[in-house]
Amino acid sequence: MSCLLASGLSDFLGDAVDLQVQVDAIGLGAIFALMAVGIGLVFGVLRLVNFAYGQLIMAGAFALAFASDRGWPVWGGIALCFVVVIVLSLAMERAVFRPLRTQSPAVMLIATFAVAFLLQSIALLWFGPLGKTAASLAELNRPVTIGEVDIRKIAIVSIVTAAVCLGLLMLLLNRTSLGLHMRAAAMDFQTARLVGVRANLVSAAAVLIAGVLAAIVAVLLTVQFPTVTPTFALRETIIVLAGVVVGGMTRLLPATLGGFAIGYVSGLLGGALPTAQSQYLPTFVFGLVILVLLVRPGGLFLRGRAAVERV
């Protein structure tokens, strides 16, 4: 469906979109898809919309900046990034998500909102509003020439990484018993517990996988935007959240497609349209979110109707 959308859109925009912009847009879409999986997976198991997901990515990006500041080798920075993000995710799960698991989704939403601001303000306190630079992977921004077009390496790296991650995740969910437990919990948490799924295990596993994805996204995003500030990845997270809702947040695949589509479209429009027209992009994106919530509450990419509370 997203391919259909993509080709339709590029027809619509005509020759204004060349292959280079296309590949960049797909690269951005791939990163957004990874974020969508991270948000969708936690939502699936815990019914919790994680507003603080962007701040996890921000923390990872600061770890990378710290390492490149100290002149650490590239793998050292990436390792630090993974450690920081994973520790932070698990701490968040243990301290906030787990005690609030029985509360209503709205309370959990507010709680993650609070965590998001907490992490952001700690970063502000620690690194100041101007932030730091993560430059160790800047080399990936250079283009390689394939045929007659210049393509930035990072676009290719993003696409390949996303494909590999999603493939591995599919294997995990469909071929292992942990995956089975997680899918059961996503369908019906209470019943899954009754038949022996360990609640704390699946919730920690979901948060852990989401954390690993956040660390990967942090690495990919710092290549494109090397200046790391406390609001790093905030805009992207809000947009991905919109994409997840539009795609359909109750199932992982539609959520991922939604994230990809919104990343692809905003990459395409950002590259093709002049600022005067693209500045109202958020209005259209969030207008679409409201429309989808009202008309197809289950999401665009989901067959059938999902049960949504209505009055």
């Binding site: 919309v49 906030v96 507010i110 969030f286 509370e309």
Partner: protein, 339 residues
């Protein structure tokens, strides 16, 4: 007995706000700012409470009504000759009109109420998570339009040269007006019907309450009060579009949650307590004399403390400091009678 309880329900928040205002009148001019800020925060939080507290539906969108109030009151009350300086692209009818303080506040409330009604017509059918996300989308859209559409306001510029009429007195009167309106609403039959839908939607429906209509009414009223609070805000400080966006949404929601979402008393206590804490920390960021020692904390500590406090309250006491109840002496009396 019932009347007495009702009187206390109104008197307690009123007394608290009046006390804060009187205290503000005693302190130095530079400290007075914090009191005015706290009183404006009370009007915003109580405005949000009117909808969120009574309906139990989460809204991230109320700061967009505050923003609409800021824009309305700001654009209307800047003197005509000052307007071209920072709002060169205004519609003619806006650049040719200037109104006084009170009319600008009323207009702020009315325009925000109309906007809330318009937004609420489709959105009030949603509940729970969907409502939270949809209202968040409203915040994003409003912010995006106000940021770039310069026919209706200053865009990214700051609202300079708005007459600074929100002094301590106006802030206090504004907060009291909002509190009285919230009280009158929650004691009215509409308020009671909405509260019934919050406690048990099925039972409320069974006795003939239209959840949609009650929510829509509360949303519009709450939008009016939020717009009014926005008017007070722009008459107090020269602000821009970033002042009425995510940070303010977070801090006002934190105030409401920390105080206790489901009571007027909780909204007022939360707003004043968090404001007080915030002011003390703001002072401490510049070095604060406390009990003979200088307390100094690094800049940015305020939001760390407030957000940590909010997370803690949610985990340990999800119904807030006041337990989401109105102030009542009933338990005390019962104890006295028993002894």
């Amino acid at each position: 007995m019932r009347a007495a309880r009702g009187a206390l329900e109104l008197a307690a928040p009123v007394a608290l706000v009046t006390g804060a205002a009187l205290l503000g009148a005693l302190v130095s001019r530079s400290t007075e700012i914090y009191f005015i800020n706290a009183l404006v925060a009370v009007s915003m939080v109580v405005a949000i409470y009117v909808f969120v507290g009574n309906s139990g539906v989460l809204s991230f969108g109320h700061i967009s009504f505050v923003a609409v109030g800021v824009w309305t009151a700001g654009v209307l009350s800047v003197p005509e000759q000052e307007k071209p300086a920072f709002m060169p692209y205004l519609f003619d009818f806006l650049s040719d009109t200037t109104v006084g303080n009170i009319p600008s506040l009323l207009a702020a409330g009315l325009v925000a109420a109309a906007f809330a009604l318009l937004v609420g017509l489709p959105l009030m059918r949603l509940s729970g998570l969907a409502a939270g996300i949809a209202t968040f989308a409203v915040l994003e859209i409003t912010n995006n339009i106000l940021r770039y559409y310069e026919r209706v306001g200053p865009g990214l510029n700051t609202f300079s040269s708005v007459p600074e009429t929100t002094d301590l007195r106006q802030a206090a009167i504004g907060a009291l007006v909002v509190i009285v309106a919230a009280f009158a609403y929650q004691r009215s039959r509409f308020g009671r019907q909405l509260r019934a839908t919050r406690e048990d939607p099925a039972a409320a429906r069974a006795v003939g309450v239209s959840i949609y209509r009650q929510r829509l009414g509360a949303f519009a009223l709450s939008g009016f009060l939020a717009g009014l609070a926005g008017g007070l805000y722009v008459h107090f400080l020269p602000i821009n579009v970033d002042a009425v966006y995510l940070d303010l949404t977070f801090i006002t929601l934190a105030m409401l949650v920390i105080g206790g979402t489901t009571s007027l008393w909780g909204a007022v206590v939360g707003a004043l307590a968090v404001s007080a804490l915030d002011s003390v920390l703001a002072n401490a960021e510049n070095g604060l004399e406390l009990l003979g020692r200088t307390l100094e904390v690094p800049a940015g500590t305020r939001i760390v403390v407030v957000s940590a406090l909010m997370a803690l309250v949610l985990i340990l006491r999800p119904s807030g400091l006041t337990g989401g109840r109105e102030l009542s002496f009933d338990p005390l009396w019962r104890k006295l009678r028993a002894s």
